[in-house]
Symmetry: C2
Subunit: 255 residues, 2 copies
Amino acid sequence: MGDIEVAVSTVIFALRPDRCARGTALWLPLVRRIKEPYAGRWALPGGPVRRDEDVEQAARRTLLETTALAPKYLEQLYTFGQVERAAEPVPGPRVISVVYWALVRPEEAEHGIEDENVGWHLADAPPGLAFDHATIVRYALWRLRTKMEYSRVAQAFLGDTFTLAQLREVYEVVLERTLDPANFRRQMESSGAVEPTGDYLVGGRHRPPRLYRHRETRDLADNGPLTRRQDVVGSRPTSTNPTPTNPTSGSRQTP
Amino acid sequence: MGDIEVAVSTVIFALRPDRCARGTALWLPLVRRIKEPYAGRWALPGGPVRRDEDVEQAARRTLLETTALAPKYLEQLYTFGQVERAAEPVPGPRVISVVYWALVRPEEAEHGIEDENVGWHLADAPPGLAFDHATIVRYALWRLRTKMEYSRVAQAFLGDTFTLAQLREVYEVVLERTLDPANFRRQMESSGAVEPTGDYLVGGRHRPPRLYRHRETRDLADNGPLTRRQDVVGSRPTSTNPTPTNPTSGSRQTP
DNA sequence: CTAATAGTGTCTTTAAGACAGTATTGA
DNA sequence: TCAATACTGTCTTAAAGACACTATTAG
């Protein structure tokens, strides 16, 4: 029964300058596999969950170990639990993967490792990936774009202060369409997601734009009621359940 | 390493008549635990994942075994993977739970088992639950309400044909507020989510309302790109990956 | 007929989008 | 001065909501 391995993988997105086309594009770091199933192919950073660490903690640890990244925004994406997952070239062991997705700021991204085994790739067109990681990346991209429309995730791509033009560029690059600066400004200001610092960004070639900061009314990575960790109302400090172990409903037919 | 158990739990919602207050309320089935951690307490139906079954399949199986329910709408909710999950009364084994949520129609709900160990409870105010199942139920409720606003999940509570008043009642009960019948009608008709069958519901006390059916343009339980299983563009038929097993980025510092 | 629900029409408010116009900087 | 970006104002359109009004049934 304890015959199933649990692993984590993480899809990390960052905005980085792009040589061709427009200035900026969406990138994600990949690591090259060295062991056999898919050896030599690119894959999402990850690894097995240790017995004594939380699953999210495992995601952070493997990320740090393989890419040296420590993203502030980290959220669970989906758990992939099909039986035939490892059955591609070699019928390996049964592995269930809890996949996370992360957003890092440009400065954070710079601290990441880059060598022949760890590198950034365009999120739109990643190279041939191991396992079904291509599907996972596509799903993560869909989640990012969807969440962009109704939340403030875009701010996770930026530093503590930023101009509205920078924030707008995040939206434009991720959603792949241009936005009207005037309307964008109005929306951001009326939504209360940002607030002006009072400072201006000097050194630009033209009129210095106002600087803004995140308005941390709520956490950026919102998982609904999961973020509000300790409830005041309910009971104990909310541990994260181990599920009923086979309840086998005993005596049925009892009104 | 294979020292971790993987289990599933499912939060099932159904609309059922309520004795007090308004006619209908949101209910969910719970099972009574018979084994020791939390023996006697109510818990979500679920159980361990077998080595040879998909995780989703495990959710369906345990649901059928314990409650005799086979919901059409079943979707992954979240995976709970903290270390201290089982550590409440007895420091049990490490268990990671993949939690699903399901919606069942009234007729489906009637087929469910009901005895002293399996019973329906008000989703708003469940009894004292085992583990952190109260948190999970609260989270599932939040997801249901959130998803209700932008998708067509409401239809999963109803049969093949229904009146707009019935559909509106689903929204009203779940969202806990009344909706304007006129505006609701317009929204539903313009969204293209439903289409009139041409028939009318006779036998009512008053003017017979038009019957509608789901417009199955897309799947009800949409998981973004995950539902579109086989891609035509990409490559192979999309298996569901087993994650890279510890890539340990080899030779760093290589430009 | 009345009671009750089904369904339509219309007005107001709000937000999104298009786009013209003004402001402020470096060179 | 000019180019380029920052920022403001205003018009149009679409959707949401409030709510009056008509339609059709059972009894």
